[in-house]
Symmetry: C2
Subunit: 556 residues, 2 copies
């Protein structure tokens, strides 16, 4: 069996100008980065504003399991299939983070015959967007510490700096540190730490900004810390917003690449899906909708986190109204939700599948609450038994939802033709009536309770008194209208990663709340959330290298 | 008077393919980065190997003063002038560091009408080379800490990790820190710090590597720390060399840009000139020599540090033999060497000039010791008096050296025609007989004494006993043959920045020595050397931003 890297290398990519032409982008609007990647001129992007013509399809998933689901491959396969059917389709994906490439997770450019390329480039530095975000993040940090060093006119409390540094690296040793050591000329000692770049608020801001002016305004609103008397100090107070916007100027232009079958794909931005909203940039999605008849995009994690945030944060912020939703599941993953251990997944087990399909069913119901028609994509494995597949289709039929078997991993777009046809039927029916889950005017705690009740089906939300007081303070500061971004485990509807399937009666414990004033949401942290991953005992980096021809080996 | 940024913006750059054609590079060998920057395919670079045809001209300077000398502008102006005279010339420069752009120093793309462009791009992220170097540096750090975290098979002593993290940022708070805090799952607490990326050994390795294989071999030799029993542990022991080379693969391809007059320029690599050798990459210089009749390149700081390292480290490492040397001076700077305060430089003062010209004279003599013919470039200011200029020319004539007045800052290449003609005459005479200052077989301490005696004219080199023992250990480890890279103040021939002119009788105190085993030199630290700059009270970043058209303002 060919590896993803081997398939990627065997593919012949088209010159990026040809892909742009297919997408309706003139060559003159391209800023090429090598022969197979390009940024799209901000002038062209601005000129397209308001020219929306396409329909928006969100690809989301069941709660992820170690068995794997394949949201990215399905997004790519669906896009290829739609293009093959003659529907002009743009794929919108997140950019992979560099850090995890050297750990265990590997890259994020799809797999099998459903990939975007050039694979090595996209997974490593790509067009430098994340490096620009890292630089902007750390310039703000340097300016905050420099401000305190030179007299601290703004009266920042060194113990209350909430702005952390960032690096696109899995590096646990940077999580907690004390810096500014070494004497009076070396800065002011204080506690700090690094988050991985995708967890930076700059990333969230970058992905929600509609243009450069909005980007700078959002950057300026970001809160870096508090004074002793509790006043918030912003990046604008530090006078860092202009230089940060300058660092991010080129990065904000969306990146055009292609699938192995020559479909255009905008791969741009990639915030964490726990402490941020987990979708590609608004700039890319909005541009895609002006160019294509259909935009297929994905959200991080399962639909309880990823789709909910896509819909309640990204879509409300950018004024987007999706037209359909695809929920990806696999027989194997559903059996895990039904209690089967990973080692036993090769065995047919219809009973376990019926127990586990409740996870999928709840996500399908939930998407209905947003007014979205749903198609289920069953991402095929060779071990799937016919009876198992039938059992899923039966369960979905009971909900009025089609579950379509897909083989895009093995067959590329041709393996997702049925899925594409099902999506086309849903789009043609025009039955979507998108509405966010809650009204912006609700109090923050009520928004949180609405998500917990309607999406997670929790019996109760525990908001300790200090957390409630903090929410009240955010509201008093004028941030009551923003959506709530829940950071909890992605593995369960509940806050307990072990409660698979469709748990009920659980409690959502809110540990703390944070205001992302630039991104425009309040993060509710429910459980241990890791914002700087570590490397495993045997990091993938140990096997990555160059072959004799200078090609990169060991990336996966 | 137009600012550098205004002049840069008013210029019309040619498509980079046109510049490549002028330089003899086929379009097919370009990896464009936007319309005005390109990387040159490593395949093309490899195919050129051994096809040297050009002569190599080094631009260096007197000891720098706050009055400014203009090495980069002179390098650019000379290149433009040579091209205008019909000599096919390639300019080879260092890439600017991002960090100083936000501090006081500003960018490093020349000035006036002697600039390379696109100015904002080159000064900010350019083609991402420095970000790749930062990533490679920090991947090694993460893998070192990760190795200790998971059991420390190699027995690294956490107190003896010499490998530091890096960031391309001026950020004094990162100089000294304690990381790995927060408990057993957060890593192993230890002291560490960040250097600015240009001070990383990865940068030095990158600039000395001849190709990808050499790059990986050098990366693998880099020492990260010691075991308790004093064994050195390398990046190869940590198994980081392959992944680091993968991260640097694209970066190692040289960057092609252009001057405002359309001369091709390779801008690639940029190591510190104190703890490293301070020149652009070997790959770029070597490539330039296969394409052009003349390559004009510059070295950092004054000739005592920059040229000496260019000649004894870069040239010996890469087998380059320069053909001529240009030493840049200004009347104003020479008057400062003669004791005039910066505020009084506008006043004609021939006596001070005669006192200060000894600095220039000594550098001219020194270059002769390497067998290089010298031309002095007098970079004109409007305040220069005719008598002052004549006094310099007279002093140089006494040494058999031509001193040519240049006005390239104001007039572009046309202002450096006389300089170009003088250089052409020296090249035509073919009088160069380059030899490094010392033999590779000399003991390390003797190499250091030779530099101090012949170049700095020090009366004595103080090598404390522990330092001498360390040098002996390096020799025992098989590193006796490498050159010595002196890290001392750039402002004086001595180790005291206040001793301007041409001091004699001074002592060179060697504080410590470090082995850069991958770069292949021993650093002798003579004085306080800053490897992570700080920001000033009012950082330039506060004034940097975007104008209404999305153009970057405030960069200089």
């Amino acid at each position: 069996m060919a590896t993803d890297l081997e398939i990627a290398r065997a593919a012949t990519l088209l010159p990026i100008g040809d892909i742009a032409a297919r997408a309706g982008i003139p060559e003159s609007a391209l800023q090429p980065y090598g022969r197979y990647k390009a940024k799209i001129d901000s002038g062209f992007v601005a000129g397209q504003a308001g020219a929306k013509r396409g329909k928006l399809v969100l690809v989301t998933g069941i709660n992820p399991t170690p068995a794997g689901e394949g949201k990215t491959t399905t997004t790519i396969g669906l896009g290829d299939a739609l293009n093959a059917l003659g529907t002009r389709t743009m794929i919108c994906l997140r950019e992979p983070s560099l850090g995890p490439c050297f750990g265990v997770k590997g890259g994020a450019t799809g797999g099998g015959r459903a990939q975007v390329g050039p694979m090595e480039d996209i997974n490593l530095h790509f067009t430098g967007d994340f490096h620009a975000i890292t630089s902007a993040n750390n310039l703000l940090s340097a300016m905050v510490d420099n401000h305190m060093y030179w007299g601290n006119e703004l009266g920042l409390d060194p113990r209350r700096i909430s702005w952390r540094r960032a690096l696109d690296m899995n590096d646990r040793n940077l999580r907690d540190l004390v810096l500014g050591l070494g004497g009076a000329s070396q800065g002011i000692p204080r506690e700090d730490g690094f988050d991985i770049t995708v967890a930076s608020e700059v990333m969230a801001v970058f992905c929600l900004a509609t243009d450069l002016a909005d980007l700078q305004a959002r950057l300026g609103r970001m809160i870096v810390g508090q004074t002793r008397d509790g006043r918030s100090v912003t990046a604008r107070d530090i006078k860092a917003d202009g230089a940060m916007a300058a660092l991010l100027r080129d990065a904000l232009a969306p990146n055009l690449v292609q699938t192995l079958e020559g479909s255009p794909a905008l791969v741009h931005g990639g915030p964490f899906a726990n402490i941020a909203h987990g979708c590609n940039s608004v700039v890319a999605t909005t541009l895609g909708l002006t160019l294509a008849d259909v935009v297929v995009t994905e959200a991080g994690f399962g639909a309880d986190l990823g789709a909910e945030k896509f819909l309640d944060i990204k879509c409300t912020s950018a004024g987007l109204a999706p037209d359909a939703c695809v929920i990806v599941a696999t027989i194997r993953a559903l059996k895990m939700h039904g209690g089967v251990a990973k080692s036993d997944l090769g065995r047919e087990d219809v009973a376990a599948l019926r127990r586990g399909v409740v996870n999928l069913a709840r996500h399908v119901e939930n998407m209905g609450k947003f007014g979205l028609p749903v198609v289920v994509a069953l991402n095929a494995f060779t071990t799937d038994a016919g009876e198992e597949i039938a059992a899923v289709q039966e369960a979905m039929a009971a909900l009025g939802t089609e579950a379509v078997l897909c083989t895009h991993w093995a067959d590329g777009g041709a393996g997702a033709t049925d899925l594409a046809c099902a999506v086309q039927r849903r789009l043609a029916a025009g039955s979507a009536s998108f509405a966010p889950l809650y009204d912006a005017a609700l109090p923050l705690a009520e928004k949180l309770r609405t998500i917990a009740r309607e999406i997670y089906r929790a019996a109760e939300v525990q908001i300790p008194e200090p957390v409630a007081a903090r929410l009240a303070r955010f509201e008093a500061q004028g941030f009551g209208h923003v959506p709530v971004c829940v950071a909890k485990t992605q593995y369960s509807f509940s806050a307990d990663p072990k409660r698979l399937g469709a748990p009920v009666g659980h409690v959502l414990p809110v540990r703390e709340v944070r205001l992302s004033a630039g991104a425009g949401f309040v993060v509710a942290v429910c459980g241990e959330i890791m914002t700087m991953p570590g490397l495993p005992r045997r990091p993938a980096a140990e096997s990555i290298g160059l072959d004799a021809a200078g090609r990169i080996e060991g990336l996966f």
